[in-house]
Amino acid sequence: MSARWLVKGVAIAGPGGRDEIADILLSDGVVAATGAGLSDAGAQVIDAQGLVALPGLVDLHTHLREPGREDAETVETGTRAAALGGYTAVHAMANTDPVADTAGVVEQVWRLGQAAGHCDVQPVGAVTVGLAGSRLAELGTMADSAARVRVFSDDGKCVADPLLMRRALEYVKAFDGVIAQHAQDPRLTEGAQLNEGEMSGRLGLAGWPAVAEEAIIARDCLLAAHVGSALHVCHVSTAGSAEIIRWAKSKGWPVTAEVTPHHLLLTDELAEGYDPVFKVNPPLRTAADVAELRRALADGTIDCVATDHAPHPVEAKETEWSEAAFGMTGLETALRVVQLAMVDTGLLDWPGVADRMSVRPARIGRLAGHGAPLAVGGPANLTLYDPAASAEAAGPGASKSRNTPFAGMALPGRVVATFLRGTPTVLDGKLV
């Protein structure tokens, strides 16, 4: 049984509501009481004046790299990074080695998460065997396993075959699953290195055109409508993609989408010096895309922020651009980047952040016990955040890898504490 904690004078970011200043009492893993002037002699007290309380953040898109690439990240180090970033649950992507395409692998990842204990780890299952895009993996067996998989994705690769995509969407209806698509037409992006546009032309890097993402999203929205199945679009990166998703939602189709923190802040102009820390898939786009993605997240067209935390060892990035691995870390900086891109710009308030970073991703991931409002009887998963802190740029964190594009950038804010079912995983900005 966990100790009792009394959080005093915090602004509770309630869903859809104003920030309400109150105390929160955590006991037995649940929110025992909220309101002004609470007292509890046996509870440890946190003076939370000036802090915002969010329901514990949920990431739909994390690469924990274990099994197979423990040199880049492990479940232990990745979930430490998650807790420090304010997360109480992460979805571990399936592109490990071996691929998480069987009940055995997803259960292994799930158990590693339980053992680590820094946050809940919900494995994502592969859609196709070995991510090869030719045969469906045993989706139902993964769903029925101890890992209770509901989100399936070949992330890193696109389920490009339209027939296979249709079947996958249909099949997972039997257990309320969702297919999370990495939208990238493979033929249009052969050898692609950078957003196709002014920068790719100037730098002589093979272009990754927006249409390669948008064409797949359009197709998949039509397929989802046709078979009445849930589609989730991973890491939306272009203005055109947001427009297609807005159109699909206007039809009432069962489509959801995520955007990464880096696509909300960074542009392809950062590739100027050929530093592969800015190499990511989908690539950084233009300022016009960034503006549209922010607007789409603000109006709910894009449901949530997902990090696509993609750790890589130093040698995978200290190389020529075209040789370097795609991806950037993001768990420890996500909330701060969202504050900079969305809150400080007036596009989203804190209840909005709670919705986009906890409530909706938990709902899309079918994750019980997460993303619930901070109300009496609800699970005591919460994040205390200080938006006024102007901590220096992100230094070396808990992630095993250092491929953060935000190094040297002054980001606002600081995660002060994270509670998982009433037990602190982070206090005073440090792992417990």
Binding site: E198, G204, L205, Y274, T319, E320, E323
Partner: protein
């Protein structure tokens, strides 16, 4: 002069003219019986070639040797690189051996940029992927100025000279560097190519764009033909080599549409009968052999200026 030469965009008009004028100075010395100058004696230049390019390598080698530098040729084939050594480790190795300048040729765009972050000495980009090849642009500018403006042209730019660059601009480091450098020097550059072989945002480059070579020829002072890679056909950039040649190849009939004073350039190696017909390549308008000779003098000027050699006119007396 800056420490590195990585992009033609690094060069101001004054920088570019200094290099061309220095090259003129060096060219006049080349007529002497003993061509070698002692200005870079004791300095080490490494030719780091990850891509086969014999002509560029020997051009840089000749340039460095005529300035009395010690030259180390490091070919990536059959070396530690073939065994998986990273560019960074190769760079650190060269650094430890005390190189003053590294001339790098690499198949990856941006390789010269990356190398410059890892070594103390100067980096000269001798072609990086589909990005740039700035010394090629310098030797082309030098050739254009000599042919169209004569040899006593120190301080003169290329103002008003109309240059048409023809062919696979998308994959051409020569085209990128030339557009930047020639426009810096005042030339009016037009790219003539099928739409598939032009980059997406080319309209923002400091040049004009045309799909119709025949329309550009009568108003061109210079036509620069780019090499066409046969394998582009397989990626559907054009239907066939024959069709490409018909629409964008420079044959005798097309050459006849050029003004009398116009010259024809090619960075080599040529595909005779594809982008350029043999009788055009061998005609009096062709500067192709001159370009090779001018490559050595221009690269001498670059190495001399980057490494800050002793004053060569004084030494030469």
């Amino acid at each position: 002069m800056k420490r590195h030469l990585i992009s033609a965009a690094d060069l101001s008009r004054a920088d570019a003219l200094l290099i061309l004028d220095t090259a003129e100075e060096l060219a006049s010395l080349a007529d002497r019986p003993i061509k070698k100058l002692p200005t870079l004696r004791g300095r080490t230049v490494v030719n780091l070639f990850f891509e086969d390019s014999t002509r560029t390598r020997i051009s840089f080698e000749a340039a460095a040797k005529r300035l009395s530098a010690d030259v180390i040729n490091f070919s990536a084939k059959g070396s530690s690189v073939a065994k998986g050594e990273s560019l960074k480790d190769t760079a650190l190795t060269l650094e430890a051996m005390g190189s003053d300048a590294v001339v790098i040729r690499h198949s990856a765009s941006g390789a010269a940029h990356r190398l410059a972050g890892w070594v103390q000495g100067s980096v000269v980009n001798a072609g990086d992927g589909t990005h740039e090849h700035p010394t090629q642009a310098l030797l082309d500018a030098f050739t254009i100025r000599r042919r169209l403006r004569g040899s006593s042209t120190r301080g003169a730019g290329l103002d008003g000279i109309r240059v048409t660059i023809v062919g696979d601009v998308l994959h051409s480091r020569v085209a990128r560097s030339n557009v930047l450098l020639l426009s810096t020097l005042g030339a009016e550059v037009t790219l003539a190519a099928p739409p598939t072989l032009l980059p997406l945002a080319v309209e923002n480059w400091p040049c004009a764009v045309s799909y119709d070579l025949d329309r550009e020829l009568p108003k061109s002072d210079v036509v620069m033909m780019l090499r066409v890679q046969q394998e582009r056909m397989n990626a559907a950039y054009f239907p066939s080599v024959r069709e490409y040649s018909r629409r964008y190849g420079l044959d005798a009939a097309r050459m006849a549409r050029l003004p009398d004073h116009a010259i024809v350039m090619h960075p080599g190696p040529m595909n005779r009968g594809v982008e350029i017909a043999a009788d055009v390549a061998d005609s009096v308008r062709s500067t192709i052999v001159e370009q090779v000779a001018n490559g050595v003098t221009t690269r001498m000027a670059v190495l001399y200026l980057l490494l800050g050699g002793t004053e060569f006119p004084a030494v030469a007396q």
